[in-house]
Symmetry: C2
Subunit: 166 residues, 2 copies
DNA sequence: GCCGATTATATGCGTTCGCATGTAACTAAC
DNA sequence: GTTAGTTACATGCGAACGCATATAATCGGC
């Protein structure tokens, strides 16, 4: 069923094979990311937002408490100055509100404005439908759950890794 | 074999649940992509190349025949003008060679120079090791194979999709 | 309470990007 | 052959990016 080598071969697969396996998997994953991102980018659902804009609005929409810039930075693939200016633009467009943190004068509290929340919801509905259409056409429910599980494992930081060689 | 829900359960599983499953999986996959890309970007293995530069060199290294720009464009997440100028820079740096296509005067044939090939190999070895370290620390062999298999399915174009509702 | 280290964010600057569009070559119908 | 349409790539231009660095506030010894 799987693409695993035939049972009975090298009981402790050569590290070479394991390296190869990992690199092939990563290359395939990159290909999938590119194909899907391209598809979603071309969708006509963004309403003036870039996908990065949406990423920030979506991240903010998931948090009750206002977020700081550095918190957003953990989720978005963007440099700190890049994120700073991206948020600037969203504030200027009235989609994100920034107010001073009373407990830390360095930080700013960021949150969605009503308009930002409405836009995120509108775009999110359409984008979510497109994501579902693309993924459900290619993977079964079991496979979707598996993809999520594998992705979560890949997201683990170097700490809390399941140890292997004690 | 098909993507039908487990026999006996809600004969037509709520489309809501399936949509949710797909969106959760995509969100997790994006998180994994971000975490790993950040990690790999921070690696000290690039030797003056951006990851996009490397992507182009790697793609060229896999092809015997010289490639056209539009062929590269299918693999790289970049607009056509963006790729055109990226290749310009690689040519200027002596890493990529471009020569006229005798059968089509519009197109250019791109290939690695010796220097480009050497650089790609050097960087590729180090990057490949980093990729393997990150992935094998988080996934078993079976999981790596599974990730590759799922990723390939996700990369399928809209044509040749396994049909579902005849 | 003072001072070096660290953290949170912003800004200057040169590079790179995407969009719109341009140019040139191929294709096909007549 | 002429011409309309398409394909392959390049270029002008304004927006966005990353790197280095600045600014300002907090934290930790002492």
């Amino acid at each position: 069923m799987t693409t695993a080598p035939v049972a009975g071969t090298a009981p402790r697969a050569s590290s070479r094979g394991r390296t190869r396996l990992a690199n092939d998997a990563w290359e395939a994953a990159l290909g999938a990311h590119t194909a899907l991102m391209r598809r979603f980018t071309e969708d006509d659902v963004w309403d003036g937002l870039s996908m990065r804009d949406y990423d920030v609005l979506y991240t903010l929409s998931k948090c009750d408490a206002p977020q700081r810039l550095s918190d957003l930075g953990r989720h978005v693939m963007l440099s700190q100055p890049g994120l700073s200016r991206l948020v600037d633009r969203l504030v200027e467009r009235g989609l994100v509100g920034r107010c001073a943190d009373p407990t830390d004068a360095r930080a700013a509290h960021l949150s969605l404005t009503d308009e930002g929340r409405a836009l995120q919801r509108r775009v999110g509905r359409a984008h979510g439908a497109s994501v579902a259409a693309a993924l459900t056409a290619r993977l079964s429910d079991e496979e979707l759950a598996l993809l999520e599980s594998l992705s979560r494992k890949l997201s683990l930081p170097d700490d809390d890794l399941p140890e292997e060689t004690p």
